[in-house]
């Protein structure tokens, strides 16, 4: 089976601090739910930033569907089918919900550089947006500024922006950050239903959500992988328990 993502000996240093160290793993294209867990400072978000191209790695290589993207700028990686969301909601505060979504939709549309025809005349974008918003029960709020939505709704909009371009790989950076437990489960349910055909790699702190969604889990600690396997294997892994609960001194 072809690989959607391969990371080889990846490392990132900020000065002398190695945030990601010699990290290697691959995700087959038919794998749907990979959850990355690990304590704070394990290098999870930095790993995402390297994969999406926010900044270049200090060493190693990244392949998307067999293409070496290690030195490729962000926007070209999205052309290969990669999309991501952010841990801290990162939308366009002066735009309405609809305008936010349109930005995501037009990015990969032939009209992206259209300069003399109004955006409003591209009705297919509005239709796509309407489908997504209605599916998420956000249609009524389409003309509200993004700042007036609830936190849970903005987390959902984050995901909508990520999936607008119909990616093949979606990196979700803590989609449930700041949500209550019941809201997290609600969002996990949406992710499960909405993204059936997408390889989702997500960072998650809420363990019940993580175990509910994952078909594979990768545990990061101090910039390296300490465990990689099915949720059951991770649950039984002694090393993971130590990382999360501390060593027992019997």
């Amino acid at each position: 089976m072809a690989e959607a993502l391969r990371v080889e000996n990846l490392s990132k240093f900020f000065g002398a601090l190695g945030v990601v160290r010699d990290l290697s793993f691959s995700v087959p294209a038919d794998q749907r739910r990979v959850v990355i867990i690990g304590p704070n400072g394990a290098g999870k978000t930095t790993l995402f930033n390297l994969i999406s191209g926010e900044f270049p790695p200090s060493g190693g290589a990244i392949y998307l569907f067999g293409t070496d993207v290690t030195r490729m700028p962000c926007y070209r990686r999205t052309r290969l089918g990669l999309a991501r969301t952010f841990q801290i909601t990162d939308l366009f505060p002066y735009f309405t919900l609809m305008e936010n979504l349109l930005l995501a939709l037009q990015a990969h549309d032939p009209c992206a550089y259209g300069i003399l025809k109004p955006l409003k005349s591209y009705s297919h974008l509005y239709e796509k947006a309407a489908v997504l918003l209605k599916e998420m029960n956000l249609w009524e709020k389409r003309d509200l500024p993004i700042g007036s939505l609830s936190h849970g709704e903005t987390r959902l909009v984050e995901i909508l922006l990520g999936i607008a371009a119909s990616p093949k790989i979606l990196l979700l950076d803590e989609p449930t950050a700041g949500l209550t437990h019941s809201e997290s489960l609600w969002l996990a349910n949406i992710i499960q239903n909405l993204l059936r055909d997408v390889t989702v790699i997500m960072i998650e702190h809420d363990m019940s959500v993580a175990f509910e969604l994952a078909e594979r889990m990768i545990v990061l600690h101090q910039g390296g992988i300490v465990a990689d396997g099915s949720p059951e294997e991770i649950r039984e892994n002694q090393k993971c328990r130590e990382i999360y609960l501390g060593k027992s001194h019997e």
């Binding site: 962000c74 926007y75 999205t78 550089y113 025809k117």
Partner: protein, 321 residues
């Protein structure tokens, strides 16, 4: 309610439009001159607004484009004796496109404050080149005089102030229409997205550098259009047209009028040029007063005149409810 408001708005804009169209020609000569310069400045400020207000790139190099276009006109008409207006305008704009395409690649490598400093430096370099190595062509501090009004090849003559005023007005209407289209287009939507959150735009799949580059060149072209009009209007071009202080004037007018708004540049050019004319007739300390006005705007009217008008409109709407 919105219908009432929009009809008010259209009446107001129709009145302003009619004033520019009908009233100006019957005014004394100095008023026609003032109105012409206001319209030319409003194109110039709009061009800066596209770059700064909409794309979020603060540039101190806008005068470089205005000045290069103005000098192109001056040199081509007075030295090369080219009388074909269309040819002169085309070459002028081509010069501006080449300069902006070159400097844009270099300047956009850096962001925010550094971008501003780099554009400032480029502007200064171009000014110095015009002043010293090219002195024979530009006549240094003396500038180039006696630029004749353009011949359009039509039966109308632009020799009088009023006819030239109408010519400028038509060009301005075209420019503002194009601005209007740009701002409402997908491209316009994207540059505002880049202004507000560039790294998210990159994550969404936008080649943000290319968008900024296109915006930079477009902005330069409109500055060039204004510069060409100015050279013909003033009949005289000197190095101050290239100087960074004049780039600062664009920012000043933009802030006073309302940064990032469509009509802001027109308001800004109107207020700034009008006040300068009026105050200069009483005192020689215009620059000091200009500074005070600028400080007041930044402290109390962040949105400039356009922002103030919008907030009044909002308040009226609230009262009607």
């Amino acid at each position: 309610m919105s219908r009432v408001r929009s009809s008010w708005k259209s009446i107001l804009s129709a009145a302003v439009g009619a004033a520019f169209l009908l009233l100006v020609p019957v005014l004394p000569q100095y008023a026609v001159t003032l109105a012409t310069s206001i319209i030319i400045y409003s194109i110039y400020v709009s061009s800066a607004n596209l770059l700064t207000g909409y794309t979020g790139l603060v540039s101190l190099g806008q005068a470089m484009f205005w000045g290069s276009a103005a000098y192109s006109v001056a040199i081509l008409t007075s030295k090369a004796q080219i009388t074909n207006f269309y040819l002169v305008a085309l070459i002028g704009l081509l010069v501006v496109v080449l300069i902006s395409a070159f400097f844009g690649i270099l300047a956009l490598r850096v962001k925010r404050l550094y971008f501003m400093i780099v554009t400032f430096a480029f502007g200064h370099v171009v000014w110095c080149i015009a002043m010293y190595p090219m002195q024979k062509l530009t006549r240094g501090y003396d500038g180039i005089k006696d630029i004749a009004r353009p011949e359009l090849g039509l039966s109308v003559s632009l020799a009088t102030g009023v006819s030239f005023y109408y010519f400028v007005l038509i060009v301005a209407v075209i420019c503002f229409s194009v601005f209007f289209l740009i701002i409402r287009s997908p491209f316009g939507h994207a540059i505002v997205g880049i202004r507000d959150n560039e790294h998210r735009m990159a994550a969404l799949g936008y080649n943000t550098l290319l968008y900024k580059y296109i915006s930079y060149i477009l902005s330069a072209v409109f500055s060039g259009v204004a510069g060409i009009l100015f050279a013909y209007f003033n009949g005289y071009v000197n190095p101050s047209e290239l100087h960074w202080l004049f780039s600062g004037d664009a920012l000043m007018m933009m802030f006073i009028g309302g940064i990032g708004t469509f009509w802001g540049p027109l308001w800004g050019a109107l207020a700034y040029t009008g006040l300068r004319y009026w105050i200069s007739s009483y005192t020689m300390y215009w620059f000091g007063i200009e500074g005070i006005i600028f400080i007041l705007v930044v402290l109390f009217f962040r949105g400039g005149i356009a922002g103030f008008v919008m907030s009044v409109q909002k308040r009226l709407k609230w009262q009607r409810h």
